[in-house]
Amino acid sequence: MYQTPVIPRPLAPLPRLPGDEWGTQVQLFEEIFVVFLVLGTIVGVVVVSYTLYNAYKYRDRGEESGEADRPVLGELPTGEGGGRKLFLSFFLSAVIVISLVAWTYGALLYVEAGPDDQGTDENLDVDVVGFQFGWEFEYPNGHSETNELRVPADRTVTLTFTATDVWHNFGIPELRVKADAIPGQTTETWFIAEETGEYTAWCFELCGVGHSDMVADVIVMEPEEWEEWYEDPEAYENGETDAEDESDVDEETDEEENGENDAAEDEPDDESEAVVTAVTR
């Protein structure tokens, strides 16, 4: 077990080599999100405090302090001076926003291109078909599962989406995977799961009466174990191996109460996410 520190690098040179530093979609999202969150909070606090400070400082005390040219009823509207300060603030905010978004552009190119091993044997391709109301996963060996995706840890998984009826959107929040599934179109995304465990995939686009129930289990397995399952999924699921934990998990998810069974330590919860600076492997 070792730790890979993920340090916010807003000033890092813009073009990063694909696959070089951004890492998984989880790491990439954490890094960018944290930077945005920190800067966003600072800007928000500064601007809001400054506004409130001025509103309070210049509150009406019922009398004029010194010369003041107040607007009068019936005048033709004109503006006040003060343009320089306005433009300075505008310029500052523009620099922050533009540089932030430009910085993320490298990450976008990286996500779009996918990690190096895409298209190699290292990569696992799964075709995903959304339908009312569920997900069909089809593996390269022809095996297919409904509402259950099993993938090996630490390996790039490329998902190719389409839908048979209406728009759906596939997302696994914990693994930062998201893609539209549109009838007549194919879209693609990829992810690398670093931790074994069970995750939930939801539908993020309103698709009809069963939209809320359109969930799928995503099971990230140890690579060797996954290979074992992949060789002969039926035999594996019939309990001909020592995968006791897995079958436990399966039973639980059959019940209505999903979400409950995700053990807290398996995944970062929402609060700690914002401050996570290290990903444990």
Binding site: T51, E75, G79, L86, V97, L108, K178, D180
Partner: protein, 815 residues
């Protein structure tokens, strides 16, 4: 019918065309829809108290989220803002009314009846349930089959009709009706914001109308637009059409609130706006740019990286002018004498909420982050901070102009209590949603770890709801017991509405408003009234602005014209269309769901025709601004300008429908498309027929100018004959196609052919009805010989219809 009954009668409110009355009607109606949408919101929040189904079933929950969105965005936010616009804009620019008062009333009645259709749709086997974004193909009858779903789509069509009428009206009013001396740069900022809003509306809502017509045709006739585009490369058609409207809509909703903030910040800080010119330029820039960012709603679809990059750049680009506006607002407070009244608190609150909404929006502008935020509560929280945050300023506007509208002051304590409760509740409602952002939208199942945030939000939701009870109580009590106010309760108000009584008299001003000498004055022409201004006695206090002057000759000529403020026909037209649409909702893919729907269609058509005729025959003298600033349309008459604006929006409607054809055909393979008409010859003949009719319309105008009744009758008669020839050939062509089994439902090619040429045919039919009406009037009462302008307006419309055909003929017959 020209006498306006007193405000205490019901009749007054059915017939009024006065902008202030219509404004009040808009406000009251919009607040009703706020309550309705709010109740739906609370149902949603109750459902989300715990994960999993509870109060509502899956279908009912979808109906709740869908109609909550539709009602709030369409039937609350914009109409609420336009209630103020109706009331205040003519006052701010020194006009006596909007340019077309009867159309203004019509716009209101179309709005009310469209809302009524929404309400009824709940009881027709469930209302529309495919989300307010109405994504295809979930929006077609196959996936959302209820009759109520069709009613909701028709309700939206009627709503867009209302918006288009209102848009044309406001554009003409603001461009042509400004008081002497009030240039464009001198427009008060609320009026500026409304002007830019209606410019955006003119084009954005036209695109939505195009999309809705296709959807309506799919649902009612059973055409295949969104069935077919659910399978091919063109499956993004709806998303493109919708978001081309949908993104400008965000600013359409937000701009009026921004205008209110700009006004209120100045009034309650005693300062003029810092960088006023730059703020106006920033707003213009946003209005233009709003049409160039729509695909940022589609980052996860199959659009390519180049387009994503472009859209990301324009998205960031559009956030920058907002930065400038926010800073301008903040710096306006500096060195001010800030008065923390209720309207100011709401505006300040709106600014703070908008800052938060803006910052969280930058997250969404970064495409990689958007990939993860798509479809989550981050988006929900963000746009509520922006849109509802903006609406916060509109509640400020309600308190700001309440004394003007009622003549009485609201209760300041209750107002502040409302603000406090609202602001706390708002943040308790929406801030936790940022923390629970991983929750998928429109889903009542969620990760149980997020339950605390959702429960806080639900509590916040009820606090926000309760805060409005305080508001309604305040408005009600103050209406009866509030402190009477004079003209101007605010120390630093500047705009003209504060220079007259509260509430203002029917004609707004003593005489006419003018800024010719640099500040407001009311110029009375002495002979129009009894010698020593009888005016000064009623109220008297306004005399400070009144200037008595000899009338000019034009003024003398118009002094005797009686101005009308009442007409029942706008209401009647609204009712007729309402009944018609209710009947149409019973058509499901070409099949009638029951005989009562047929009765409704017939009754609706009859009533609409009768009401339109009544509208056309009624003598109605709108208050006319004889002396006004008209830049940049000095040379264009009032009605003509209105026709031009209407045609501009119609160009976009046809653009959307023809664009849909090109998009679908390109997506399916241009060459693989089968041309529907078996023979181009009838189309070619029709092209000549229509072009000739354009010529005869010009002859009609020439005859009218020469005051030749026979020439005019002959030319209009020829136009009618040519129009009937066109429709006859069209009917023959269609009946032939039906006979060989080509129906609108047959194939996507047939759908596109029938809908596009059918929409054009509908324009021809409408033109023929107008021409028939005019022909009868020329024949019976020698109309248009003295004033030939209506012939010219009809000609403009008719030429437009002909030009559209010149595009359609090659597209559908030759290619």
């Amino acid at each position: 019918m020209s006498d306006l009954p007193p405000a205490s009668t019901v009749k007054r409110w059915l017939v009024t065309t006065n902008h202030k009355d219509v404004g009040i009607l808009y406000l009251v109606t919009a607040l009703f829809f706020l309550l309705l949408g709010g109740v739906l919101a609370l149902l949603i929040r109750v459902q989300l108290w715990t994960p999993g189904p509870s109060l509502l079933s899956g279908g009912a929950y979808n109906e709740a989220v869908t109609t909550h969105g539709l009602l709030m965005v369409f039937w609350f936010l914009s109409p609420f803002a336009f209630g103020f616009a109706n009331y205040v804009v003519p006052l701010q620019i020194g006009a006596k009314d909007l340019a077309f008062p009867r159309l203004n009333a019509l716009s209101y009645w179309a709005y009310v009846f469209s809302g009524l259709l929404m309400v009824i749709s709940f009881f027709q086997g469930g209302t529309y349930d495919a989300g307010w974004t109405m994504y295809a193909p979930l929006n077609i009858p196959e996936y959302s089959p209820s009759v109520g779903g069709t009613t909701a789509v028709l309700a939206l069509v009627l709503f867009v009709v209302s918006v288009t009428i209102g848009t044309v009206n406001f554009l003409v009013t603001i461009h042509r009706g400004r008081a002497e001396g009030m240039g464009m740069w001198n427009l008060p900022l609320f009026t500026w914001s409304i002007l830019l809003t209606v410019w955006m509306m003119l084009f954005a809502f036209a695109a939505l109308l195009g999309a809705l017509l296709l959807l309506g045709s799919d649902r009612i006739v059973g055409t295949l637009y969104f069935t077919a585009t659910g399978t091919g490369d063109s499956s993004l058609l709806w998303a493109h059409l919708f978001w081309f409207f949908g993104h400008p809509e965000v600013y359409i909703v937000f701009f009026p609130a921004l205008g209110v903030m700009l006004e209120i910040f100045q009034t309650f800080s005693g300062r003029r706006l810092v960088g006023r010119k730059w703020v106006i330029l920033a707003m213009i820039l946003i209005a233009v740019q709003s049409f160039l960012v729509w695909m940022h709603h589609m980052f996860l679809t199959s659009i390519n990286l180049e387009i994503k990059t472009l859209m990301m750049a324009t998205t960031i680009g559009i956030s920058l002018p907002f930065d400038l506006i926010v800073f301008a607002l903040i710096y306006t407070l500096v060195k001010g004498r800030v008065q923390f009244t209720t309207p100011f608190l709401f505006s300040l609150g709106a600014l703070l909420l908008f800052i938060l909404g803006g910052i969280t929006g930058v997250f969404l502008g970064a495409t990689v982050l958007d990939y993860e935020f798509r479809g989550t509560y981050w988006v929900v929280a963000h746009f509520h901070y922006v849109m509802f945050g903006g609406a916060t300023a509109l509640f400020g506007a309600l308190y700001y102009w309440y004394p003007k509208m009622t003549g009485r002051m609201y209760d300041e304590f209750l107002g502040k209590l409302h603000f406090g409760t609202f602001f706390v509740g708002f943040n308790l409602l929406y801030f936790p949603l940022f923390l629970a952002w991983e929750t998928p939208r429109r889903v009542f199942e969620y990760n149980v770890e997020l339950i605390t945030w959702h429960q806080l939000a639900t509590i916040g939701g009820f606090i926000v709801g309760a805060s409005f009870l305080i508001m309604f109580y305040n408005l009600y009590v103050s209406y009866w017991n509030g402190e009477p106010v004079g003209e101007n309760p605010w120390e630093f108000s500047r705009t003209a509405e504060w220079a007259i009584e509260s509430p203002p008299p029917l004609e707004n001003w003593p005489g006419r408003a003018s800024y010719a000498d640099g500040s407001l004055s009311f110029i009375e022409t002495a002979p129009a009234h009894a010698a020593d201004g009888g005016r000064a006695t009623d109220g008297g206090v306004v005399s400070q602005f009144v200037e008595v002057r000899e009338p000019t000759e034009t003024e003398l000529a118009h002094a005797e014209v009686h101005e009308d403020h009442a007409s029942i026909w706008p209401f009647a037209i609204g009712l007729g269309v309402f009944v018609l649409f209710l009947g149409l909702s019973g058509l499901h893919a070409g099949e009638l769901q029951g005989p009562h729907y047929l009765v409704a269609i017939a009754a609706g058509l009859g009533l609409s025709a009768y009401a339109l005729l009544g509208f056309g025959l009624e003598e109605f003298n709108a208050p006319e601004a004889l002396i006004a600033e008209r830049w940049p349309f000095e040379g264009v008459g009032k009605t003509k300008l209105g026709v031009w604006f209407f045609l501009a929006s119609d160009v976009v409607v046809f653009g959307a429908v023809i664009g849909a054809f090109v998009f679908i055909r390109a997506g399916m393979g241009w060459g693989a498309w089968e041309t529907v008409p078996p023979d181009p010859l009838p189309g070619l003949v029709n092209t000549f027929v229509l072009l000739t009719s354009s010529f005869t319309v010009i002859l009609a105008l020439v005859a009218a100018e020469r005051k030749s009744k026979r020439g005019l009758l002959a030319a209009m008669g020829a136009t009618l004959a040519l129009g009937f020839t066109f429709l006859g050939i069209k009917a023959w062509e269609w009946s032939y196609e039906f006979s060989v089994g080509i129906y609108p439902q047959t194939s996507i090619e047939a759908s596109v052919y029938y809908v596009t040429t059918g929409l054009h045919g509908l324009h021809v039919v409408l033109g023929m009805l107008i021409a028939l009406f005019m022909f009868a009037r020329i024949y019976r009462s020698d109309a248009y010989l003295e004033d030939h302008r209506p012939v010219e307006f009809f000609g403009l419309y008719w030429h437009f219809v002909d030009i559209v055909w010149v595009f359609l003929f090659p597209l559908f017959y030759l290619m």
